[in-house]
Symmetry: C2
Amino acid sequence: MSDYTNSTLMIYNSLSGKKEEFKPIQTPNVGMYVCGPTVYSNVHLGNCRTFLSFDNVVRYLKFIGYNVRYVRNITDAGHLVDDAEEGEDKISKKARLEKLEPMEIVQKYTLDFHHVLRLFNALPPNIEPTATGHIIEQIEMVKQIIHNGFAYEVNGSVYFDVKKYNEKGYNYGELSGRNIDDLIAGSRALDGQSEKKNPQDFALWKKASPAHIMRWSSPWGEGFPGWHLECSAMGTKYLGEQFDIHGGGMDLKFPHHECEIAQGKACNGIEPVNYWMHANMLTLNGKKMSKSTGNTLLPHELFSGENNILGKAYSPMVVRFFMLQAHYRSILDFSAEALNAAEKGFHKLMNAKKIINQLQYKKGTVSESENNRINQLIQDCYTNMNDDFNTPKTMAVLFEMVNKINKLNTSDNMDISEEVFSKMKTTFNGFIEDVFGLQSEEQADDSIVKGVLNLLIELRTEAKNNKNYALSDKIRDELNTLGVQLKDSKEGTTFSIN
Amino acid sequence: MSDYTNSTLMIYNSLSGKKEEFKPIQTPNVGMYVCGPTVYSNVHLGNCRTFLSFDNVVRYLKFIGYNVRYVRNITDAGHLVDDAEEGEDKISKKARLEKLEPMEIVQKYTLDFHHVLRLFNALPPNIEPTATGHIIEQIEMVKQIIHNGFAYEVNGSVYFDVKKYNEKGYNYGELSGRNIDDLIAGSRALDGQSEKKNPQDFALWKKASPAHIMRWSSPWGEGFPGWHLECSAMGTKYLGEQFDIHGGGMDLKFPHHECEIAQGKACNGIEPVNYWMHANMLTLNGKKMSKSTGNTLLPHELFSGENNILGKAYSPMVVRFFMLQAHYRSILDFSAEALNAAEKGFHKLMNAKKIINQLQYKKGTVSESENNRINQLIQDCYTNMNDDFNTPKTMAVLFEMVNKINKLNTSDNMDISEEVFSKMKTTFNGFIEDVFGLQSEEQADDSIVKGVLNLLIELRTEAKNNKNYALSDKIRDELNTLGVQLKDSKEGTTFSIN
């Protein structure tokens, strides 16, 4: 691991409710699973925040020397409307509405998802398994859970027996903090409509009604897997019966992740995940995002400015920077004010990055205390990230470096040693690019175009002032041929590009 | 369908060896399946040619009004080394060599494949199914083929019985033109090593050896599907037991597509595909591409110019244009000479496109014969594409339009009617953008940068000639600040951008 990681990486484990020292099962390898999107609609910003939070986790683990196998799935079957136990499959329903084959829906929204995450510069996972691609593995898991006595079949469906699971000493509810025994004791008698023994039981396999499009043959007849099962099956297949980190949005804690723990234990008799991590949600202008109230924003509406909520466009990099300013476990509120501030901050940060990469070391009188201060800042980047990936605190440290860089830039000589200068540069670049995934958003050419055009406008104004109209007309005409229009006004000359 | 499609779309059917009128099973819907890549290495140029050929087919079908469901698979299991019946799975072997989980290999090269096809502006398929995602469907198909008496199980593997298939009146060999009965009669006695009844038999399901990583449970024990089976299973699932068009590279005709026909007929008793299309191969400097002789080129080597074969970079759009200049059933040879010519041609074409989109109709004396000539060109675009997607002939027609456009541009008035002018514009744009998928490759800014910089260099040279060194130095210094270096030499001044 890195020189500066004298502090220990601590991760807040949702299961214990505490920050715990991170000890991978097989250092330096880390197995990490993140619940991916259900691809039945365009990915929304809340999802993006979750995926970017875990992108930072993966990036930091790699940065400090871990070899991460990062698995993030695509849910392309089995996720029922309203996350309920009954009802239509989300993808099938959308297929019916859009009159497409379910897998056309899957393809359409998987492409959208990948496109948006590429814009955000998120690293692709090492493996991106799909639920439909692992039906056999899910069936095998159901068979094992039945064999171990924790599930029962009714009319072609298989349910997990929560009561039995708790009777055997396990604790369904341990992750979400719900006391399921109380719930079971207090629940109303079943109305006879349900096949389940208890309302808390959840489906491992559902019988397909004649109208259900997505269906596979199984030992219990034609059906489809329960939503919670895919992550257990794919996590086990690619990371083992027990692995290091499982991440997802806060809303997946119950029932999805609670069920995953139960399935893992019931199938393999072992704690499936050592560190459970949950990313908090996004609000928009202080309110929960919601399609029904119109208080919602899709990534492309944010990037294009075509929305009534924020009124202008923000680049994916500004949005990524903005998200880093909140800790992943805190609620983050999107507002025009906050994003405008982030836009300024982002440009300030990237400008300092440009400066330090062009700056030559200038020998001066080295101040030991200043050397120590910079060394401390360097170490603080790691210390803050080691504190449960505290990106806002790390960002604050980077901004202290920004001040130092701007000062060094205007000084005739430097008060830190060449070694410390070089270390600061490496750390500053590394945290911005590798850990935070921030890229310069300006096309190099774009700033050149502006600069060069402004120079030409200046030369033309001079020519006009000198009554050299041949030259001033020549500049205007030649720019015109290139598709650049000059516009003279009282305030001066501006340009527009066709 | 379109106004101009008076001619009928004819498709060369590899199965009949003739051009046949295209009659979809359910107009205006077209079901089309194209064999996708085996994702165990970076996609090579020959594959790209195949995928771009079928991209043009899909684009043209859509252009003339068909509603295409385009399925292109990802082979992520079952394709054995050397396309043989024995040996290691291509992906597993690569996984072993790169010390990765097979599905990490799949992800790595699927991302590369998607990236390259995006650069080429290929449309994504409507459904992109994977072999591992359809194990159950493949098992069901094997069961049905066994049930129908065309396959047999030996030691946990299942083979297709080619002899039995031919005895029942079918004709294994009909696509590739091989006489299998002769082959069977003439083949040497089996050496006892093989489980197959006849050497021509092919695997539907293979027993997994203990070392084989990719394995699934089946009625015949743990194993994996035969390579040919996935396309039959996925084609049937998403397009039906019989569909319109099946495409692939010429090298897949035998055994892959021959086996697909046999599997389809043996399983469903029906001709699985109505039109078989095969794209021809690429050569490089007149010779077959081959890794062992070094006569090979990857897309990124072509785009970056980092290769010893062609010596310079060609943009994806120039390469796409180049490929359009050969018919998909002809061999296409890559050479620096041919690509340089294509580069010029591409720019000439796109320049005319820019011109016609900026050109206003200028009233003049309309010549009826000129009107007729342009109308004929418009119709010829369709006629040529209707002739088995003859892209080079269509391109030649577009270049006749280029000449006309350039002439109209310099004339004071136009000799064609406004209606014909407008139709030509629509057709010209439509074929370039929608049918041929060609995009302007120059970033608007890029050409502006070049133009504006050259203008500044000119002004600086004039200033120097007039001994106005204050101005010439100012231009140099201000450009320097923008990261643009000027370099003076005997031949004049050039610039480089940092």
